[in-house]
């Protein structure tokens, strides 16, 4: 395990350096610093991919069975989503917003790993369940980025509409680009989330013998899909643009967040987490 710990530590260090460069970018506004932050992010993603693959190989199941592994996968998938988004539109402030967040998640994952937790349930080691969790985590990460870009769009749009342009408005992409980026993140999130739910249905049929439709986690997950479907329908079917559609992106994300975290805290669900 020592080699794996070193790999995770290196990934965390790369994210940390990326976050540091992102903060330096904020101070000096030098595009070279943002480019450097992005290079560290890609190193972090690469190292973490190797770590997750090696961990899965050594354990014999996909590493999504305890807090440390979940945080690690979440940091990794957020990194992947951010890197893909950045290759589409250059939005330095997004790196500044999300790189420290990714770094923090990876640090928590490292701390949790040090406690040496085993799987929260043996069910989680099942390949289909693992795939279900992995895909929904990936989908959730894309939704998170979509939410971040959506909020940015909202702020930028309000500034332009009210004629109150603040200094940082110059460092944000155009509304058109932000809208395109939101569609990109939300689109991928939708597909991955839907694929994750599909895997979940298979497993539910196998383990529970049916789909417990009253389970709040399942209800929430399908509602998230419905809200995002309404977003795409509004945009492509009814020609809705701007804030009207962004409301759906924000609502969809809040519901996804509640489904992901809130259900376990406030409601009862048959899901392990």
């Amino acid at each position: 395990m020592k080699g794996l710990d070193i790999l995770l530590g290196l990934a965390v260090a790369a994210y940390g350096l990326g976050a540091a460069q992102a903060f330096r970018y904020l101070a000096y506004l030098d595009p070279a610093l943002e480019a450097s932050a992005f290079r560290w992010l890609t190193w972090g993603i690469g190292l973490q991919a190797v770590f997750l693959a090696a961990l899965g190989g050594s354990q014999g199941y996909t590493p999504v069975t305890n807090l440390s592994e979940i945080l690690s996968v979440l940091a990794f998938s957020l990194g992947v989503a951010l890197a893909l988004g950045r290759s589409k539109v250059s939005a330095p402030l997004l790196s500044v917003l999300f790189l420290p967040f990714i770094f923090l998640l990876s640090v928590f994952s490292l701390v949790a790993a040090a406690k040496g937790q085993g799987p929260m349930s043996s069910l989680l080691t099942e390949p289909l369940i693992a795939l279900h969790i992995f895909l929904t985590l990936l989908g959730y990460s894309f939704f998170t980025l979509g939410f971040g870009v959506g909020v940015t769009y909202w702020l930028q749009e309000s500034q332009i509409k009210r004629h109150q342009l603040r200094k940082w408005a110059n460092h944000l992409p155009a509304l058109d680009s932000l809208e395109g980026l939101t569609v990109f993140f939300t689109g991928w999130g939708f597909l991955l989330w839907a694929a994750g739910l599909f895997m979940g249905i298979f497993q539910a049929l196998k383990v529970w013998g049916g789909i417990p439709c009253s389970d709040p986690k399942i209800l929430g997950s399908f509602s998230v899909l419905l809200i995002y479907a309404a977003f795409f329908l509004g945009r492509w079917g009814l020609g809705l643009r701007g804030k009207k559609t962004m409301v759906l992106v924000l609502a969809g994300y809040f519901l996804a967040l509640f489904t992901f975290l809130g259900v376990q805290v406030f409601l009862n669900s048959r899901h392990v987490y």
Binding site: I160, H163, L165, A169, A174, L175, D176, G239, K243
Partner: protein, 423 residues
């Protein structure tokens, strides 16, 4: 040699004086060649806001006197009048001046982008006239690099400060790439034309120009390679345009909220940017309340421009800090050029004084034998070496590049290693 700047600018001389001193490119080269004997490395910067000579010379006074004389002869100004408007800086102050000029901190409109190109042009002339040696090249290249750093790392140039450039910048914030966007001009006023030209500069290729007088619309459309329309046709075309620019002389708003509403229906939610440059306003303010419609009138644009100007002023402190760092780097580089010759000259000066004294004393020590005379001469050498040792070690070990540069300069002045400036 000292790096100096001698000239006048918008802060010291009114335009009526500045325009008298401006030189055409050919005259600049001839002027530089005339200076060559006194100032082997020099550059001449002539813009509408400044006329400045940058040169390396020793002594400086002869060069500045020559420049003044030539300019006075050329422009027939009295010496007193000329002296009133000119300034001269040397060494650190001159570096700082050049760096501030190149970074547009000394411009009338702080942060404007033209000046860097003009300084580069001035340097190019100097190179072509054979007046750019390694020192001047090093200084100017560092000034260019510092200016780029200031532009990329501060807000100094990011925020547009004219009404037209604010409008174009806003269009960029809404649409991003403007190349595929369509622009409709309602009215063919000067401000509209200027803004349209800015938009064309950003890649806009599709223009419609509508005016009460169709001929005028067609004339402007021809300039923009667009299409001329009547005013009614123009308003009907609003749904097709991404940016609408209005500058009509009207008594009341010509474009009402229902017109914009109709346009938005056909746009299927795509944003519409309306720039209303007319006074009285051409577009009903209510139209701007609709979703995806961004309406800016002349006051809105002016307010943004003014606030941007204030931001630029605030960014000056950060820019000056960057320039200080860059000037430290320049001093460090110059130290390598200046320190060694200074030390060599200082040692030579001590040796020549010692030799003079020894020549005088050795006659009076004729009664001593050869061995004792050699001993006394050695004493004089050791004494000179010991006296020099401490200051030279201090000079070499000074950690701050600026301080080293200043000390070297001071030594040069104190011991007369170079001839000082003579006014």
């Amino acid at each position: 040699m000292k790096f100096q700047v001698f000239g006048l600018n918008h802060a010291t001389a009114p335009v009526s004086i500045r325009e008298k001193y401006a030189l055409a490119p050919d005259a600049v080269k001839a002027f530089l060649r005339d200076l060559k004997a006194l100032a082997p490395e020099a550059a001449f910067l002539s813009t509408c806001n400044r006329v400045e000579f940058y040169f390396l010379a020793e002594p400086a006074a002869e060069v500045t006197a020559l420049i003044r004389k030539k300019l006075q002869a050329y422009h027939r100004l009295s010496p007193a009048e000329a002296r009133k408007y000119f300034y001269r800086h040397e060494d650190l102050e001159a570096f700082r001046h050049l760096f501030r000029v190149a970074a547009s901190l000394d411009s009338m409109v702080v942060g404007e982008s033209q000046i860097l190109g003009q300084v580069k042009e001035a340097f190019r002339f100097s190179v072509e006239a054979g007046m750019a040696g390694s020192t001047l090249t090093g200084i100017f290249n560092r000034a260019f690099s510092a200016a780029k750093t200031v532009r990329s790392q501060t807000e100094i140039a990011r925020m547009p400060v004219s009404v037209s450039s604010v409008a174009v910048s806003l269009a960029g914030k809404i649409f991003g790439d403007l190349a595929q966007k369509k622009v409709l001009l309602l009215g063919a006023g000067e401000m509209s034309e200027l803004t349209a030209k800015y938009l064309a500069g950003e890649g806009v290729a599709d223009f419609w120009v509508a005016n009460r007088t169709l001929e005028k619309a067609k004339a402007l459309a021809a300039k923009l390679k667009g299409q001329g329309l009547s005013l009614d046709q123009g308003i009907a075309q609003m749904g097709e345009a991404d940016i609408v620019l209005t500058s009509l002389q009207v008594e009341r708003a010509l474009v009402g909220a229902p017109d914009v509403e109709a346009a938005m229906r056909s746009r299927k939610g795509k944003p519409l940017f309306i720039i209303d440059l007319g006074v009285p306003r051409n577009v009903d303010a209510e139209a701007g309340r609709q979703a995806q419609v961004y309406l800016y009138n002349i006051d809105d644009l002016s307010a943004v421009a003014q606030s941007n100007q204030q931001e630029r002023q605030k960014a000056m402190a950060a820019a000056d800090e960057i320039l200080s760092r860059e000037i430290d780097g320049l001093c460090s580089w110059l130290n390598n050029l200046e320190l060694v010759p200074t030390i060599v000259r200082l040692k030579e000066r001590f040796e020549s004084v010692r030799q003079e004294e020894w020549d005088d004393f050795s006659k009076r020590l004729a009664h001593l034998d050869e061995k004792d005379r050699a001993l006394v001469e050695r004493l004089s050498r050791d004494l000179a070496a010991h006296l020099l040792h401490a200051p030279l070690v201090t000079l070499k070990n000074l950690p701050d590049a600026r301080e080293r540069f200043e000390y070297a300069k001071m030594l040069n002045d104190l011991f007369g290693l170079w001839k000082g400036p003579e006014e």
